[in-house]
């Protein structure tokens, strides 16, 4: 496989603290990888290691087939975009874009051509003579992307590039980045803690926790087949409902005795004996009324809280003694105290071993 960035057994320690633990990651040519995780999970650290801004404590990093473990950032063939934009405040946009190239001693015509091209792609032409202080947040972020663009490199690294922007701008720029990727087709590694960004942008998402990758898959798999409780809980908003219980054979018994048949669930391995387990069901997989009756599992519940979201409505209730949310079509009128039938298909849910937290 044509690998663009290859991370082999990389670990990083700050004193006694292990920030990255024997991490492996292969990023294909032109692939858009998102490193997703809560703060402190090591995702930014990993990005900084790839960029060469941090020295690894062990392992190797390859970019474009070259071992760059000891190379300076500028020699790695990467461009990087930062959360705070990190623009040079006293230089105009044009100078910001060209400074690195001129320092490297590139010919003037070539510098101008590259700046022109980047400005064109990012629609920065009107602002070339302005200083960063006179630009909006979105414009600044585009300049920051432009600075990576002019480097004409294969790999783009993004370190939470949108988290300093407001919600509206964030979704606009998200689309722009996606468009940019489609146009440039280079490898992009993107760090964020925002799962929407991850799900919308990524070819593959790497979910990280405590310096390890928990799951590396396409957004669909991550969403529908989380490999463990952590991933299942992290992805999805509102998050997945969890029911504690025991699994024996093809039946799941919740703590309050409710039995949920899981016969059509696709087990990763044949189950053996009786184990403590957690059954996860996404709110949108719970159906109401008549549809519920057709599901392998259904029960009558009382609505506790209703949150109309516009496009749909969230409702809170209890199933088998656990607080559960479900998503209903916005046409359905739900009122607090109302009793109705809900049901779901465990095949669309996820079952985890409560002790190992892994998917079963």
């Amino acid at each position: 496989m044509q690998s663009s960035v290859s991370i082999r057994d990389v670990s990083l320690n700050f004193g006694n603290v292990q920030v990255l633990r024997n991490l492996n990651l292969e990023v294909g040519q032109g692939e858009f990888i998102v490193l997703l995780g809560p703060s402190g999970c090591g995702k930014s650290t990993l990005l900084n290691c790839i960029a060469g801004l941090l020295d690894v404590s062990g392992g190797q990093i390859f970019i474009g087939g070259k071992n760059v473990t000891w190379a300076e950032p500028k020699d790695r063939g990467i461009g990087m975009v930062f959360q705070s934009y990190a623009l040079y405040p006293q230089m105009t946009v044009e100078k910001n874009l060209s400074f690195g190239l001129r320092v490297a001693g590139m010919a003037k015509e070539e510098v101008n051509a590259r700046v022109k091209r980047a400005a064109e792609i990012l629609q920065l032409e009107p602002f070339l003579q302005r200083k960063p202080a006179n630009l909006s947040g979105g414009q600044r972020q585009r300049v920051a992307i432009g600075r990576a663009l002019v480097r004409d490199v294969d790999v783009f690294l993004f370190d939470e590039p949108l988290s300093n922007l407001d919600a509206k701008l964030r979704s606009d720029l998200r689309v722009e980045i996606k468009r940019l990727h489609q146009r440039l087709k280079n490898t992009m590694i993107y760090v964020t803690h925002d799962q929407i960004e991850a799900l919308t942008l990524a070819d593959r998402i790497a979910i990280m926790k405590n310096g390890e990758i928990q799951q590396l898959s396409d957004p669909h798999t991550i969403y529908n087949n989380p490999v463990n409780l952590y991933v299942a809980g992290f992805i999805g908003s509102p998050s997945m409902n969890f029911l504690q219980g025991t699994l024996s054979g093809t039946s799941f018994t919740a703590e309050d005795g409710t039995v949920i048949p899981v016969g059509n669930y696709k087990f990763t391995a044949p189950s053996s004996g009786q184990i403590k387990a957690v059954l996860g069901v996404r709110p949108e997989h719970i159906v109401l009324g008549e549809d519920a009756q057709r599901m392998p599992f259904s029960t009558e519940v009382e609505i506790e809280i209703v949150e109309p979201m516009g496009s749909d409505t969230l409702a809170w209730t209890k199933i088998a003694g656990h607080s559960v949310t479900f998503r209903a079509d916005s046409d359905v009128v739900l009122t607090v105290g109302q009793k109705l039938f809900v049901g779901f298909d465990p095949a669309r849910g996820s079952l985890f071993n409560a002790e190992t937290t892994n998917r079963v």
Binding site: L53, P73, F82, A86, Y88, P89, G100, A148
Partner: protein, 314 residues
Amino acid sequence: MTDIGRSGAVSRPVEADKPPGLLYNIFVRNITAKIAASPMVAIVLIVFIGCTLWSVWFSFTDSRSLPNGDFVGWAQYERLFSARRWKISATNLLTYGIFSLVFTMVVGFLLAVLMDQKLRFEDGFRTIFLYPFALSGIVTGLVWQWIMNPTLGLQSTIRGLGWTSFTFDWITNTDMVLYALLIAGTWHGTGFVMVLMLAGLRSIDGEIWKAARVDGIPTWRTYLQIVLPMMRGVIVTTLVIVGSGIVRTYDLVVALTNGGPGLSSEVPAKYVINYMFTAGNLGQALAASTVMLLAVFVILIPWMIIEFGPKKAH
């Protein structure tokens, strides 16, 4: 948290139905704040403005040792500008000031950059560079006089080691004495500049450094072309603090050279104080201090306008 009424600021909305008048605005609004700020206002009005006006007024009199002279117009100023000692003092201050300012700023910045290199024992080194700032000008002058004294200090020591032609007689050499002053002055002041600069360096967003590394900009160029321009605020603050110290230079000169040899290290503040207390010519002394103040105004007012003028809104 319910003591409404203790502050005018809080009680204001209660009276919102009638628009507050001018008198209200001046006296009642935020009354506690105004009372609290009144010491500062009084100090500014009475001491800094009042005493300055007082000094300017008596510079137009022939006051001797006490401020009770008759009005004599520009006579004190005419005499001041024809006095050789004043010319020498002013030139000295200009030379010393420029050198000292450039030197302390550059050395202070370089030290700060060195301290910024993730050194071991950074705290220790920083304290070493900073401690002279704790010493008074008198002590600084005395110690350096002791070291630079040709018959007892460095010169005689080095000669004693066998290099008999070695000369380091700056404090007794008319042409070099200002540089002797500079050695002592920068020794005293660079630590503080370093601390300010270091604070400035550390306040710069770490991602700027990362961006510069990714761009392949060498460290020295990053400091010079990116970081330094970003530290404008610190640099200006430092310039004001260092500059005000230089203009007032007095103790150090008195202790180190007492203006000598001859008049070769005289400074304006010393002129003022000599004429005020030794020569008993208050009018002359105050004329000199007025000129000093005017010079400072000319330099500072444009800066004040830039720094505090337009961005009043917070």
